[in-house]
Amino acid sequence: MKVKVKLFATFRDGRFNEEVRDYSPGTNVKFVLEELNIPMDEIGAILINHRHVEEDHALQDGDNLSIFPLVGGG
């Protein structure tokens, strides 16, 4: 199945801004994060099709997955 993965801010460094990627049915968000080597403790928000989801959320064909890092400075 095809999933569009969008990375934001620092997660783009050494990876990509946006890419349509192939996954087997039943793949969850955690698999994508590990595949892209995105540390869990740096994640601020994960959205699929503009809705917040958790790491165990299973992806569907045609999903838009967006991953944002945590920002907390002042």
Partner: protein, 273 residues
Amino acid sequence: MQEVRSFLLKHAEGDILPSRHHVFASTHFGLSMGQVERIALESGLLPSRYQRNRNTISITQQLRIFRGTVAVVGCGGLGGYVIELLARLGVGRLIAVDPDVFEEHNLNRQLYSTPAMLGRPKVEAAYLRVKEINPAVTLVPVKCAFSKTNGFDILEGADVVVDALDSIPVRLELSDVCNDMNAPLVHGAIGGWFGQVATQFPGEDTLRRIYNRPAGANKGVEKSLGNPSFTPAVIASLQSAEVCKILTGQGQTLSRRKLHINLLDMESIELPY
């Protein structure tokens, strides 16, 4: 009071009160600049310093802004700019909260940091600056670290609270105190080229949802990226616009949404909360 009002109306040019008469009235009647400003605005007169506001902010709205109290929690990168903008906007009372003194590593971005101010409290610098730029504004300096223990006393009387902190756990404490006090909270956070803004009204749990992962995190991308000069200025400006809209009751705020700003690729995206 009637005597002051008559004086101001007599010396107004149209509905503009020239600053020389504002200052004279303050000295002559033994009133503060703020007291004269209130009487002027209540009489339908706009102090001349605000004349370029007028097609954006009406005299009635300018009075609402003047009657407002805004607490700015954190007076570093974001807080310095927010205080500057709100003082120029004409917010009548500002409560500035920060426990720190200026250090050398603040000089790249913190508006009130100068070599001469190193070692001096940030809230003292804010107090001196506001007095200089808009003497009608009262700034209450509070040199202490905000917490849920002292928060209720610090925020007493605030109509709007600005989150300009740099610690995620303290931001969450601030959010809880604001909700308990029924105060709207304008959140801003920065790191490197990136920033975010959101507005939380009483009863909403936006801050808790923004920072619900990873549990117990203290810092975000700013830990490794630091902050350049322009990112706090951008995010503080957006926060100040939110404060202005809350005080005047116009426009659409960032309630239940967060704006993510990327200055490196010049993108902004809205996230629902």
